[in-house]
């Protein structure tokens, strides 16, 4: 199964990928800027993500919050997201509203700064602070996604610091800082525009040229941050976090081959064998058989530079201690090293991954997102059509080579959440009864 793909580049450097599909009158537009939290300077963390918020605050010809309103009025869905290596913005709209979205995206790429005010910055800073409280501080285990990269990557490493940023850095952000960040990174030559769905390719070319063509490229962009390459941590790193949680939970990370490399696919299949669905090794052994874990899964970060992370995430059953959870997970990893995987386990994993991939390509938004991903990271959106074959090419031998090289005790980082003892739990029980009265 392959989706049709066409590409072209504007003179200002904007790379455009197209994928036609006329089964429904809708179209997805997806714009990736090749900037993420890894591009932030020390003392200026959180800018990439703050920016994602500022981009919905209007531009020269679009009022505050009008972006959301216009797209929703057009009958469309939209959002944006920030990651370590990219920031993206996306809309799916009825196909006759395509030009509206191109206009909105071009207007904020070309003319955001004239509309930026101190008040907008202050409000969005408050919203981001609340986002932090909501998603991290007031959420059991919520700080994991800040702590795990910090544990895995050294302080100087671009992936070390928090994606949402430090509140002090956000407080210190001035309009000038924000403007400088924008001028540096939000330029056509640092972006990929993908359009998937119901459109006329000739018309789309004209529209993209009309709206994005006048935007000048960035004058100077710093070289991408140096990302040190490492095969292993060289040790077993550990952090224990006492937290307001009911059950212990372990994040066990391994440095793994970067996204897109041949070895990545073996690592990804290994992750699926370990922790994809209920037939995976961890679920079967720890949840079903030994019943020491309530949940167990594995995933990769899909980082493209230096090293990727393969992460096992397991939550204890009530009555199981943090130490026991960690040792049970570790012994499953050791068993994997000792036994290796079979072709049959590889086949299960690859078949599941294949169904998921095809299933996700049903949505125009997902198609456009994948095109942007492969175009941004590798300059080649057609890689989206190679993915199933690359997974099918993975052998048990390749997975076992990955296991031997990367799952040993010299390449583990444990982030272990432990229930804070004991007064909080008792206090919570008390108020539950009160609330029931």
């Amino acid at each position: 199964m392959r989706i049709p793909i066409d590409t072209f580049r504007l003179e200002n450097g904007l790379f455009v990928t197209l994928s036609e599909d006329h089964t429904a009158p809708l179209v997805a537009v997806n714009l990736w800027y090749h900037v993420g939290s890894a591009n932030e300077r020390e003392g200026r963390t959180g800018f990439a993500h703050l920016f994602e918020h500022m981009l919905f605050q209007g531009s020269a010809d679009v009022g505050t919050n009008e972006h959301f309103m216009l797209v929703q009025r057009a009958g469309g869905t939209l959002n944006g997201s920030t990651w370590l290596e990219r920031t993206n913005y996306f809309e799916t709209v009825p196909s006759h509203e395509l030009e509206l979205v191109l206009w909105l995206e071009a207007n904020r790429m070309g003319k955001l700064l004239p509309a930026m005010t101190q008040q907008k910055l202050d409000t969005q800073r408050d919203v981001v602070k609340n986002e932090r409280l909501w998603s991290m501080d007031n959420q059991p285990y919520g700080t994991w996604w800040e702590r795990l990269p910090a544990l895995c990557f050294p302080a100087s490493h671009p992936f070390h610091h928090s994606l949402i940023g430090s509140m002090e850095d956000l407080d210190a952000a001035s309009l000038e800082d924000v403007a400088a960040f924008f001028s540096t990174w939000y330029a056509p030559d640092n972006a990929v525009l993908s359009i998937a769905g119901d459109f006329d390719p000739a018309v789309v070319r004209t529209l993209v040229e009309k709206h994005f063509g006048p935007i000048p490229p960035s004058e100077a962009r710093p070289a991408p941050p140096e990302v040190p390459e490492a095969e292993t941590f060289g040790m077993w790193k550990r952090e224990i976090v006492p937290d307001d949680v009911a059950l212990p939970r372990l994040f066990l990370a391994f440095l793994s081959p970067v996204f897109g490399s041949d070895a990545y696919y073996a690592a990804s299949v290994c992750g699926a064998i370990l922790g994809m669905r209920k037939g995976s090794r961890l679920h079967r052994a720890l949840v079903r058989e030994k019943q020491v874990a309530a949940e167990a899964q594995a995933f990769t970060y899909d980082l493209t530079r230096g090293s990727d992370l393969l992460v096992v995430d397991a939550t204890a059953r009530p009555g199981i201690s943090a130490e026991q959870l960690e040792s049970e997970v570790a012994s499953e990893i050791d068993r994997l090293i000792a036994e290796g995987v079979t072709e049959s386990e590889v086949a299960r994993a690859v078949t599941l991954i294949e169904t998921d991939m095809i299933s996700s390509l049903q949505s125009a938004g997902e198609r456009a997102d994948k095109l942007s991903l492969f175009a941004t990271y590798f300059g080649e959106p057609r890689l989206v059509n190679e993915q199933v074959d690359r997974y099918r090419a993975v052998t048990a031998e390749a997975v076992n080579a990955f296991i031997a090289a990367r799952l040993g005790e010299d390449n583990r980082a444990s982030l272990l959440f432990v229930p804070r003892e004991p007064q909080d739990a008792a206090a919570n029980e008390g108020v539950m009864a009160e609330a029931g009265a």
């Binding site: 429904a24 809708l26 010809d61 009025r73 955001l112 609340n130 909501w134 669905r277 539950m432 609330a435």
Partner: protein
């Protein structure tokens, strides 16, 4: 630099292309099992959803959680293979398979590539006809539910949602308690009760099999006949739960989480049933109030005040009246201020007609986004499942867009006056109670409880 860029002015839309919800056909097997098949020829994939009358409102007295436990146990073994072997068999086919019960129905569903669908369907048939409910898996899933409850309650928002149901509904209503049951209820459930629930509720004569994807109606019907034709049983009896509010006067309910960084705030009351004739005016009214990013509540609390990352309102649609809820998490020190703003927005919906601009934002959004909601076989199967669950008319999806566009500002005002009930409103805060009690009392909303 960028100020000097000259960009085109705002474009106008071209003509919309017509679209209709995927055509579906109904059949009935000899055993009474109803089929709904929607051929969707886009990618080589299909979703099957088997719907039975086994939702949580059918939990017998004293057996809270049995519907959910039974649904989840459906995938934990048949008389021919144990849970691990069954899971393995589905996963070797690359099939995503899920089983769960909501308030009204239990659903066992699968998505697979069409070339592997016959094999996956055959397994699904085995699951429906011949589940084994192994004692060991019964005990394991009971303890997984208890572990989920522990997790849920350690999350302020999970705790708020559970507590709010109890604040809204009369204790005798099934809706007052979590659909999956509480610890003591779940601990007391037995394998015999699971078997009895399965026998009473999982019967082809009351069930529907929805099949959506890259295949013909005939092929789907043949597959269903092969997999499920041998299943037998009369239609189960219909069930209802009592629906009544817990109290008739307003009150503020405080739940203490001393270290909470934010307050989880809920406002609401018992709402209306899904099949209510005012559904479309309510849908549009709620979109304006709190259903969209650009809704009044979100623009006020998030964009004007920066109190929160997000605030929304919703009607939880069930066969019988589910709750109407305004939901947000705000910085502790602005809890009372945020509650006041949300209440003002509710009053404003009831006191004057909305602007024409607000109406068209909501209606053109709901109208335009309609095809975008049904891009996947999974989403189409879920929509057809709602048709079954709520007994919606056959032309519901074909008329949806005109019904939305037909709502007027007067309809919205009428819906707000009828279905938003400030005098019955309950407020719940999970957070740092000692820090906010005084300001909550100063709101003079109602009696402060807890």
């Amino acid at each position: 630099m960028s100020a000097s860029v000259v960009l085109p002015s705002r474009p106008t839309a071209t003509e919309p292309r017509p679209w209709h919800f995927p055509r579906f056909e109904r059949r009935v097997l000899a055993n009474g099992l109803r089929l709904i098949v929607a051929p969707v020829r886009k990618l080589p994939i299909a979703t099957v959803a088997l719907l039975v009358e086994g939702g949580a409102t059918a939990d017998p007295e004293g057996q809270d959680g049995i519907a959910q436990l039974t649904a989840r146990l459906m995938l934990e073994g048949t008389s021919q293979r144990d849970g691990a072997a069954l899971t393995e068999a589905f996963e070797r086919l690359g099939a995503t398979v899920e089983a769960h019960a909501d308030w009204d129905l239990a659903t066992v569903s699968l998505t697979a590539l069409t070339e592997r669908l016959p094999a996956a369907m055959s397994l699904l048939g085995e699951v429906l006809r011949d589940p084994a409910f192994p004692a060991r898996e019964v005990e394991r899933l009971k303890s997984e539910r208890i572990s989920d409850l522990l997790q849920l309650r350690s999350e302020p928002r999970g705790l708020a949602d559970e507590t709010f149901a109890q604040v809204l509904y009369d204790a005798r209503s099934r809706f007052a308690r979590p659909d999956g049951g509480r610890e003591a209820d779940v601990e007391a459930l037995t394998r015999e009760q699971v078997q009895a629930f399965y026998q009473a509720r999982y019967r082809p004569a009351g069930a529907t099999c929805v099949i959506v994807g890259d295949l013909t109606v005939d092929a789907a019907a043949e597959m269903a006949q092969a997999a499920l034709g041998a299943w037998s049983g009369e239609a189960p009896i219909a069930v209802q739960t009592l629906v009544a509010p817990a109290r008739t006067t307003r009150a503020v309910h405080l739940v203490s989480r001393p270290d909470a960084a934010q307050s989880e705030l809920r406002l609401g009351h018992v709402g209306v049933e899904r099949a209510h004739p005012d559904y479309f005016p309510i849908l549009v009214m709620n979109a304006v109030l709190g259903g969209l990013f650009s809704s009044r509540i979100n623009l006020n609390l998030r964009e004007a005040h920066g109190y929160t990352y997000g605030a929304s309102s919703y009607f939880d649609w069930r066969r019988q009246p589910g709750p109407f809820v305004v939901s947000t998490a705000v910085q502790s020190d602005v809890t009372a201020a945020a509650a006041r703003e949300a209440l003002l927005e509710i009053d404003r919906m009831r006191s004057a007609t909305i602007e024409q601009e607000e109406l068209t934002l909501a209606t053109s959004y709901l109208d335009g986004v309609f095809p975008i909601r049904y891009e996947t076989t999974h989403a189409i199967a879920a929509a057809l499942s709602a048709l079954v669950a709520f007994g919606l008319p056959e032309d519901y999806f074909d008329r949806y867009r005109e019904r939305v566009r037909g709502v007027t500002v007067d309809d919205v005002l009428e819906a707000a006056r009828r279905h938003l009930q400030p005098e019955a409103m309950q407020m719940l805060v999970v957070g740092n109670v000692s820090g906010i009690r005084e300001s909550m009392e100063a709101l003079a909303f109602g009696e402060v409880v807890g």
